[in-house]
């Protein structure tokens, strides 16, 4: 995972390219505003691709996380995500309570396992 050198220019190159491709859309939006219909099928397809990509990333981060989250058991992560979802919709889409409960489950589950495992 951490085979890329932290001090080298590589992370900066990656970040700068990321910033450029991000700003590109904003600038293009200013240039084209008034000339493009944001409700056209092309934009709907672009939105679908972005949603699928994000959903894929989110699911992967929950199911197959990187870094130290990878050492937590999958049931803990699924329970945290599931409860966040349930609380979010029960509280009329309160983002703070939804995210907060997912956070709480993850913290308590990890703590509980550490305590039980006598670590």
């Amino acid at each position: 995972m951490a085979e890329n050198p932290l001090d080298g220019p590589w992370p900066w190159v990656v970040l700068a390219v990321g910033a450029l491709v991000t700003y590109f859309w904003r600038a293009l939006g200013v240039a084209l505003s008034g000339r493009l219909n944001p409700q056209s099928p092309l934009f709907e397809w672009v939105a679908c691709v972005a949603y699928a990509l994000l959903a894929g990333l989110i699911a992967r981060m929950i199911v197959l996380p990187l870094g130290s989250l990878a050492e937590t058991p999958l049931p803990d992560r699924l329970a945290a995500a599931g409860l966040a979802f349930v609380v979010f919709f029960l509280t009329r889409r309160n983002l703070l309570l939804g995210v907060g409960s997912g956070f709480a489950v993850m913290v308590l589950a990890t703590w509980g396992r550490h305590a039980l495992g006598g670590g």
Binding site: L15, G18, W25, G56
Partner: protein, 227 residues
Amino acid sequence: MPGFVIFASFLGFGALVRESGLSLAHGLFSTATGWALPGQIALVELYSVGAPLLAIALAVALTNARLLPMTVAVMPWLRGPGVPRWLYYLAAHWIAVTGWAQAMRVAPLLPAPQRLPYFLGFAMVLWPATLVGTALGFFVAGSLPLPLVLGLVFVNPIYFMLVFAADLRVRPRVYAMLLGAVAGPLFFLVWPDWGLMLTGFVAGTAGFLLGRAQERAPRWRGGGGRG
């Protein structure tokens, strides 16, 4: 209240930055220049699996492509008399979900000359707050006990899972998300570098076609429509 949630989500991003082996300066640079969290998270995640630059650039570009229609939609509401054109290009940098939603809601209620200043003022509160959130998340991830750090890192997927789940009124997008959620981990296992891109194109296009076909034929004939 939305400000607090944004702050918490950038706190999670700061923790993710540290977990991914990047420095505080990298995290702050990403927040200051990218300022669209899903793309930032995609970038950091792909960076830590060692994906090639082209794969990272395309994934970030696709993740953030929604900024184009968002900007096209909001610009008419930000135009004011006598504003130089370059200022719109500068202001566009701060178009991201929260500021955009606020501008779409409030700007139409304001007199034209006040719209751009309102948007910039809103952004100039939010922007520093996200930088502070990133820095605090980074520091906290280095000093808190492990369970809390894991909780913070886990805020990243949870936050966006809920944000996007709340915004699913359009049927093609629902299919795209469901297919993407299934395809994402599978494609990642097969092809860590390009799996995310493939997920976007395959699941996104399938969801788009499926949703549109269904919208055109309201009497759905049932059967396996799982693409």
